[in-house]
């Protein structure tokens, strides 16, 4: 008993150390974002000696910077809406029916989630050029469907399979039409699943850069790609780079908070 009590008291050490390890590089980035460039390059300080908001000011006043955020958010939201909307009926079909080629289709969808974006970068560029879609938000939103639609189908199918089929049958007996049943009864039942699927679409579209960068030049350029141009005549603008990095972390941190109770189940693709 004594030994067990002791291990229980000590068990907080492991996660704490791990979280410290996670936060250390982030702390350094935040630290840098409040420094001037001279302080960053000339001295080595653990907290900013002369805290400045200049770096953030640059980002919020220069359209080249803040439009990057707006672009990213536009295509991420577009992609999330498209992916989840298209995936809902498909996931229902996979969870409730057997049909010709269903297993092959499911597998084929899955392979797209596994496909390396590098393979698709060049053909995407040519395809979207042919349609005149280069440098539009919708192009990136559709391109990201490559990995987000299969993911959304998969997560939603996991959550839908947890809803007993009797509910569908009862609703039909009560005289509900399929669309009405789906929207009014079924969707509220899997609301958490829809939330998790949307979260994952948001996440993977937000963190992806290779395809987003290939398909955009100026008008729809994502913030992550803007960050690669901080080299100016006077050398690297480290402060602004750090501030931009910090600002890309914030949206993610916000959405995590909303799905914290479901995030683990989502990573297990609704199958725990």
């Amino acid at each position: 008993m004594n030994a067990q009590a002791k291990t229980r008291n000590l068990s907080w050490i492991v996660p704490t150390l791990y979280i410290l390890f996670l936060l250390l590089p982030i702390y350094w980035l935040v630290n840098m974002s409040f420094k001037t460039n001279t302080e960053i390059t000339a001295t080595f300080t653990l907290i900013p000696q002369a805290p400045t908001l200049r770096n953030y000011q640059v980002i919020f006043t220069d359209p080249a910077w803040y439009s990057g955020y707006i672009n990213s958010i536009i295509y991420v939201v577009l992609n999330t809406v498209i992916s989840v909307t298209a995936a809902l009926p498909a996931a229902y079909a996979f969870s409730r029916y057997r049909f010709l080629g269903d297993k092959h289709l499911f597998f084929w969808l899955l392979t797209n989630r596994m496909a390396p974006p590098a393979v698709f970068a060049l053909p995407f560029f040519q395809l979207y050029s042919a349609f005149g879609l280069i440098d539009t938000h919708i192009a990136v939103a559709i391109a990201h469907c490559l990995f987000n639609v299969p993911l959304a189908v998969w997560i939603l199918e996991g959550f839908m399979s947890g809803v007993p089929k009797e509910i569908d049958e009862t609703a039909y007996i009560d005289g509900y039409s399929f669309p009405k049943f789906f929207v009014k009864i079924f969707m509220p039942l899997i609301a958490s699943g829809i939330g998790v699927a949307a979260f994952f679409c948001f996440m993977f579209s937000w963190v992806e850069l290779l395809i987003a960068r290939t398909l955009t030049t100026t008008d729809a350029k994502p913030i992550a790609a803007t960050m690669t141009r901080t080299v100016s005549a006077s050398g690297m603008d480290w402060g602004v780079l750090a501030a931009a990095g910090v600002l890309t972390i914030i949206p993610g941190a916000l959405v995590i908070w909303f799905v914290r109770n479901y995030i683990a189940k989502g990573f297990a693709l609704g199958r725990v």
């Binding site: 996670l22 390396p116 963190v207």
Partner: protein, 288 residues
């Protein structure tokens, strides 16, 4: 669950099919097209057969990049999976600690991949980084820009930083699904800590661990952005992975034929892995 046979379900899948056809099938056909043709420019193509495939398969460049990929995946799996299990086992089970741990741990997963690269770049730099300065103060000669070992170490630590949380979250989800009664029974039987882990926790985590293992393997196998930002594939070619090499070839040098052939070989490897993944997952669905 009993599923009814209904081919009308195809109509429900149709929107997904159209979307994925546009974003995957058509682009993939373009790649296939390029892989068997050669060009003298001016959009004039002629049949090249399997020449490009032979070129790629005979080149050292491809096999070296593939080897680096496999080595990288092997190392990060060997670190991340045991570490993830260890952390998940020690996570708090209830109280305010749970959401705090979950949110803080999930944080790296939500950072855009090139920002992850940037964070580690500035963290590791010898002139301005905390890690670089710290190691220098300890008398360790560390420089990821021109030392192969340091470059690899940085990439591996970065990947552990970035993705171990995925393993932790999955294992945690598996652990909390174990009923309290199991632990009580083990206690009555006087089971040791190791026995509880070996016979109760590990079997319950088997499925989530498989998911974690395969997801991590496949994602690390197609890693691109982070090493591109941190090392740019160098020093020399020492961190040039398949994706980096492919993008260099296709977009940098515009060698469409070899790049397309390499894409297809790369894709086939991934396809094989996906098939293993799918088989494992669905056989689990049936027994569970």
């Amino acid at each position: 669950m009993n599923k009814t046979w209904n081919n009308k379900a195809w109509f429900m899948v149709l929107p997904v099919l159209v979307l994925v056809a546009f974003s995957a099938a058509i682009p993939l056909m373009t790649v296939v097209n390029y892989s068997v043709q050669d060009t003298f420019g001016n959009n004039q193509f002629f049949w090249a057969g399997t020449a490009w495939f032979e070129d790629v398969l005979e080149s050292d460049r491809f096999w070296e990049a593939l080897g680096r990929n496999l080595m990288f995946s092997g190392i990060i799996l060997a670190i991340e999976i045991p570490l993830g299990i260890l952390i998940a086992l020690n996570m708090p089970k209830k109280g305010i600690g749970v959401p705090v741990c979950l949110v803080l741990m999930a944080l790296p997963l939500l950072i855009p991949w090139n920002v992850v690269g940037t964070i580690w770049q500035v963290f590791g730099r010898v002139d301005i980084g905390l890690l670089g300065r710290g190691l220098a103060a300890l008398g360790i000669n560390y420089n990821y820009v021109n030392n192969v070992f340091d470059a690899w170490a940085t990439l591996i630590v970065m990947d552990v930083w970035h993705w171990t949380s995925l393993v932790v979250l999955l294992c945690y989800a598996g652990l909390v699904s174990i009923p309290e009664a199991y632990y009580q029974a083990a206690k009555i039987d006087g089971a040791s800590r190791w026995a509880v882990f070996r016979y109760i926790q590990l079997p319950k985590m088997k499925r989530v661990l498989l998911i974690a293992f395969l997801l991590r393997f496949m994602d690390s196998f197609m890693i691109y952005t982070e090493p591109f930002v941190v090392t740019g594939g160098g020093p020399g070619n020492s961190t040039t992975f398949l994706s980096i090499d492919l993008v260099k070839m296709a977009i940098g040098q515009f060698d469409l034929g070899p790049a397309a052939a390499m894409s297809i070989i790369y894709f086939l490897i991934i396809l094989l892995l996906s098939w293993i993944f799918y088989t494992v997952m669905t056989s689990g669905d049936e027994t569970a």
